[in-house]
């Protein structure tokens, strides 16, 4: 049986509790079985003024902080609809394409970083959507299309075909320098985005 992270590293759990008391005093961590659940309200502040407040529940994963915690809004304020980026079955918020979040957060899903980056962005965006506005930082398409959008954006790829080929080959470790660059420049990979070739 796997020992939960908070028993393996009690100091890490104590640090989460300290951080919450210091920075988010209305969120409270508790051990429930093999999981750590953080519940309460989160105030969203801007320029020193609270502009909104949400009731939330975070579930920290078994390999915390390597994987993204799940986050749910608990006051039934946000409709459980995919178009509102809430999983209808579980009620969890779809904060972003997981690979994209991992990339922009350097693989560190510590609770304070998750609160300050994707959760804060999501909640401010939701507050604007409630006012009839668009998502201020944009939104990804549902499902696999959203994942491909992220990779296309990351690689600067203009052609779907070359993006698919690049990603498929990347998984197999077969990327060749003489292939057309997925950015669509018309040049070969090794003479264009050489970094991608070397990373592959």
């Amino acid at each position: 049986m796997t020992v939960p992270w908070f028993e393996r590293e009690p100091e890490a759990y104590a640090e989460v509790r300290r951080m919450l008391i210091e920075r988010y005093p209305t969120l409270h961590a508790r051990k429930i079985g093999d999981a750590v659940v953080v519940k309460g309200t989160l105030g969203i502040s801007h320029e020193g003024v609270e502009i909104d407040r949400y009731s939330l529940e975070f579930r920290l994963p078994g390999d915390y902080p390597k994987s993204l915690p799940t986050v749910s809004e608990t006051a039934e304020r946000i409709p459980r609809q995919m178009d509102r980026h809430v999983n209808p079955a579980t009620g969890t918020l779809c904060l972003g394409v997981v690979e994209e979040l991992w990339f922009v957060m350097n693989g560190d899903f510590s609770l304070d970083r998750v609160i300050e980056i994707p959760v804060r962005n999501f909640l401010i965006g939701n507050s604007l959507v409630e006012q009839g506005q668009e998502w201020p930082l944009g939104e990804r398409s549902h499902g696999i299309r959203g994942i491909l959008e992220f990779y296309a954006c990351l690689l600067g790829a203009k052609e779907k075909k070359s993006l698919h080929r690049f990603l498929t080959s990347l998984l197999r470790g077969q990327v060749k320098g003489h292939w057309p660059c997925p950015c669509g420049s018309g040049s070969v990979l090794r003479r264009c985005h050489i970094g991608w070739h070397e990373a592959a």
Binding site: I21, T26, I32, V49, I51, D83, P136, L137, G143, I144
Partner: protein
């Protein structure tokens, strides 16, 4: 926790002593949750003689309420009520809500976009 049992708990705590201002009473509720959670019971006001609602309060929920009240009181004692309830905004000086939210969104140090895992 459902709000109905919570309301009954507050009534139970303040039933014998509702003196003081709002802060005094709120603090008394939090202190009771922190110190006496195990002994608090609640009853359905529609059927006070035969419907003990204490079963709504599991040991886990009592622990959670007690721990939350303790953390909240510690924060209030150290940093005041604003640390718990947020800064009071002066409505007269407040910018339009959409403008404030847009400003907050553009101040994000790292942009992230919501997604949906299902098609």
């Amino acid at each position: 926790m459902k709000t109905f049992p919570l309301e009954l708990l507050v009534i139970e705590v303040l039933g014998d002593n509702s003196a003081g201002n709002l802060e005094d009473r709120f603090r008394r509720v939090l202190e009771a949750f922190r110190d006496d959670m195990e002994s608090l019971t609640i009853e359905d006001p529609a059927n006070p003689s035969g419907n003990d609602l204490s079963s709504c309060l599991t040991d886990e929920l009592r622990d959670e309420l007690s721990a939350t009240a303790r953390d909240t009181l510690d924060t209030v004692d150290e940093s005041g009520w604003e640390a718990v309830l947020g800064k009071i905004e002066n409505d007269a000086k407040a910018a339009p809500r959409i403008q404030v939210l847009r400003s907050a969104a553009t101040a994000a140090p790292i942009a992230t976009r919501p997604w949906s895992s299902n098609e």
